[in-house]
């Protein structure tokens, strides 16, 4: 099987009215030199003669074993296997789903059917989002949530109908559900064609090149400031800000280099899981302990730190310092300068059940332990895992092991040599109610 010659396939999903037809027309009329075959559901309205448009009923076939991962689109198997026989083959296939479609069976079809798998490769899933209506749709239907979760590209369309602030919060909500996807804004699906075609989205390398930070872990705090403090009493002063409270940990013995900050952050993640001690304005903040500063009284608020042993102290704060004009004064009332600070990718407030879990660890995995863990994870949680991809460093193998998957379907192979590159592991899971903490711990246990 010559994988490079496989015909790429893009799946276009999105609710009715999100602009799928507009985007399709745009792709088909643009000069891109591709021979495109479009598989449309029966009720599509595209009438373009540059491309072959095939109307196929969406036929979702479940198997007798009851496994949702074996559910496929029978119409696609028939139609695409047939199209492939012609000598003048197509360079590209676009599959448009109906608004209410679950993208799972469409994507699974390209993993499950051997003939299709030999001839076609799934390039990416593009989900159009009607900026004006998606919030209601997300509340009402599980399909729209799944369409967001499966996407490689989220095209936030009809942005002219929504104000900027609402768009920002909508984009944040979508990112909270699917951190793997690229979010692109448009008014009338007017995006360059290369935003949606030839993504290589199922190829993690390209995803990482495009968004190198997408695998960065999320933290329950947004900002860390490191201060050098002598013995004495300090005042932590906050102006009025956007929230009625703020969680905080003051870490003693905090160094200023990035490794030390990350180490402190990891420690704080665990500490943040402990219940916080409530501190009212005027109160004293203990060290190395999760506290919650009450900020619901009007005006500026002060809290106090009593330092016995001089040294470096790290403040891991739930919000950015600038949001509250947070600063530290010594007993003389002078502002203490920040020696080092850093912002973190903030954890989303997960109103949505669907979210992304990323795992990033240096080192090698024991293949047996990894296999056992993944088998268990996918058999127990596969139904709730929409997408996964990543690469793994397997002990004893000189090549990077790359993988991707949809639900319980897992597809992986050794890829390029590690060479001199540091050996590490990056995994991303998008799913419903996933427990990131325990998944990270279980992965940790697979390391040699």
């Amino acid at each position: 099987m010559n994988t490079s010659r496989r015909v790429p396939v893009t799946i276009l999903t999105g609710f009715l009215g999100s602009g799928k037809t507009t985007l399709l027309n745009r792709i088909l009329t643009e000069e891109h030199g591709k021979r495109i075959a479009v598989i449309e559901n029966e009720y599509g309205e595209v009438g373009i003669d540059q491309a072959l448009v095939i109307n196929a009923d969406e036929e979702v076939f479940e198997m007798s074993n009851g496994c949702i991962c074996c559910t496929v689109r029978g119409d696609l198997i028939r139609v695409l296997n047939n199209l492939n026989k012609r000598r003048d083959k197509f360079d590209y296939v676009l599959v448009e789903t109906t608004g209410l479609a679950d993208p799972g069976p469409v994507a699974q079809t390209f993993f499950m059917d051997d003939e299709l798998r030999a001839e076609y490769s799934l390039d990416g899933i593009v989900t159009l989002v009607d900026a004006a209506h998606i919030n209601q749709q997300l509340g009402r239907s599980k399909e729209s949530t799944e369409q967001i979760a499966f996407a490689d590209v989220l095209l936030l369309n009809k942005t002219d109908l929504v104000n900027g602030e609402a768009l920002d919060s909508l984009e944040a909500r979508l990112r909270g559900m699917n951190r793997m996807a690229r979010v692109v804004r448009s008014e009338r699906a007017n995006v360059p064609v290369d935003t949606v075609l030839d993504l290589g989205a199922f190829n993690l390398n390209e995803v990482l090149e495009r968004r190198p930070t997408f695998l960065e872990p999320e933290y329950p705090f947004e900002w860390t400031g490191v201060y050098s403090l002598d013995a004495g009493r300090y005042e932590l002063k906050l102006a009025e800000g956007p929230d009625p409270a703020m969680s905080l940990i003051v870490v003693s013995g905090q160094a200023t280099d990035d490794a030390a900050l990350r180490e402190g952050a990891e420690w704080c993640v665990r500490e943040y899981a402990e219940p916080a001690e409530i501190i009212q304005p005027g109160g004293e903040i203990p060290f190395d302990k999760h506290v919650n500063l009450r900020l619901d009284v009007p005006g500026s608020k002060s809290f106090f730190l009593e330092v016995d042993t001089p040294g470096l102290f790290g403040l891991y704060a739930q919000h950015l310092a600038e949001e509250f004009q947070l600063h530290l004064r010594n007993a003389d009332g002078a502002v203490v300068p920040v020696k080092a600070d850093r912002t973190w990718v903030a954890q989303h407030e997960h109103d949505d059940e669907v979210g992304s879990i990323s795992i990033e660890r240096d080192g090698d995995c024991d293949p047996q332990r990894l296999d056992d863990w993944l088998s268990k994870l996918l058999s127990e949680r596969g139904v709730d895992i929409f997408r996964m991809k990543g690469f793994i460093s397997i002990a004893g193998d000189s090549r990077r092991f790359v993988f991707q998957g949809v639900h319980m379907l897992f597809d992986g192979q050794p890829e390029r040599e590690w060479g001199d590159a540091p050996r590490r592991n990056q995994l991303v899971f998008i799913g419903r109610n996933l427990d990131g903490q325990s998944m990270r711990e279980e992965f940790e246990a697979c390391l040699v």
């Binding site: 009923d57 036929e59 479940e62 198997m63 007798s64 074996c70 026989k85 012609r86 000598r87 499950m112």
Partner: protein
């Protein structure tokens, strides 16, 4: 393993002629008692070749826009029907290659076409419907919508047609339109074959199983363990051996005695890639298999389903279909490159005494 090698014309396969059509050779068949071979391709062309020399007798280009999907030879051998992506069925005279009737079946692809055993009715499926037409091309019957696109059709007798789709096999009397029997099973049925007496119906399923029912007792069984989906199925003319694809091996189940339940099938290993087509020679326990690897193999089978290869050749690309000449003394192979290869079947045990050079004729006149 007998030591046969694909590519070397050993065993019973004695290369007769080869030719090419314009595109992927989708379907064909022997007509005029084996005097001619007709072939339809993915480019929508239909071709007639002289059965002995391979000379192109006639060719019709771009008949079915989008390509030919299926073909059925009339039991008399003097006519045949083609079906295509253009939603039409055409009825042809075999000798002249002229279209006698054109039937608009529907707006979707016509993926299956089949003559009743007495040649009185022609059945065709288009999307979720199945239709039956008389010899003049007049519609006799049109079914209601099936639950999904009809994947296979087969006549169980001159009065009864079986249809397969997702989750269901149905038996209809097209003359009255009545539904005579229905068997349900949750699975995507991708292929179907009936035993010659019509009692056993066998379907290959997308989930890599073979499911079958005995109509008289409504007893059903499932064979699993296939590495791929069993899209190729064939019954021998006695109705006792069922050959199934679904991987690189041919698995042969014997229905003798209480089988095949609880018995071990014959496993025929030779092909390097998935089996694409299987067909039994008329009257004898001799099976031809074709695969994606381009190999065509003829097997001699025992009563229990075991067997050994008695001839093999490589046609160079994925084998699309195989057709035994009605007398069983010739075999035609269609392949993905549009190749048409015909062999005479020589005596078993070794090479034919006078090997003949293959003669290649091109249908495009060049």
């Amino acid at each position: 393993m007998s030591g046969l090698k694909a590519g070397s014309p050993t065993g019973v396969l004695d290369r007769g002629w080869s030719a090419t059509v314009g595109d992927y050779a989708i379907a064909g068949g022997w007509v005029l008692g084996g005097e001619a071979l007709v072939v339809g391709d993915a480019g929508g062309g239909v071709y007639g070749f002289d059965g002995r020399s391979g000379a192109a007798v006639w060719e019709r280009h771009e008949v079915h826009e989008g390509g030919v999907l299926a073909m059925a030879i009339h039991p008399s051998g003097t006519a045949f029907a083609t079906a295509g992506q253009d939603g039409r069925v055409l009825i042809w005279s075999a000798a002249e290659g002229q279209v006698a009737r054109s039937i608009d079946v529907g707006s979707g692809w016509v993926e299956n076409v089949s003559w009743s055993p007495d040649g009185q009715l022609l059945a065709a499926s288009c999307s979720r419907q199945v239709c039956a037409y008389d010899a003049d091309g007049a519609e006799v019957w049109r079914s209601d919508d099936h639950p999904s696109t009809v994947s296979a059709i087969a006549w169980s007798s001159i009065k009864e047609l079986a249809t397969a789709c997702y989750g269901r096999v149905s038996f209809f009397n097209p003359s009255t339109g009545s539904l005579r029997q229905k068997m349900e099973w949750q699975g995507s049925l991708v292929s179907m074959v009936l035993s010659p007496n019509g009692d056993i119906v066998v379907c290959g399923s997308q989930d890599n199983t073979v499911h079958f029912w005995r109509r008289s007792t409504e007893q059903d069984s499932m064979m699993s363990g296939y590495p791929g989906k069993p899209s190729a199925l064939a019954f021998d003319s006695a109705g006792t051996l069922l050959a199934t694809g679904g991987g690189e091996a041919v698995t042969v189940w014997s229905f003798r005695g209480k089988g095949p339940e609880g018995t071990r099938p014959g496993v025929l290993e030779f092909h390097q890639e998935s089996i694409t087509t299987l067909t039994f020679a008329p009257g004898v326990r001799r099976l031809a298999s074709g695969a994606r690897d381009g190999a065509v193999v003829v097997w001699s089978l025992q009563k229990n389903g075991n067997g050994s290869p008695i001839g093999a050749e490589d046609v160079g690309d994925s084998v699309a279909e195989l057709y035994w000449r009605p007398d069983g003394d010739g075999l035609a192979a269609l392949d993905a490159q549009g190749g048409v290869t015909v062999w005479r079947i020589g005596p078993v045990n070794g090479r034919t005494s006078r090997p003949r050079a293959a003669q290649r004729t091109s249908s495009s006149g060049g």
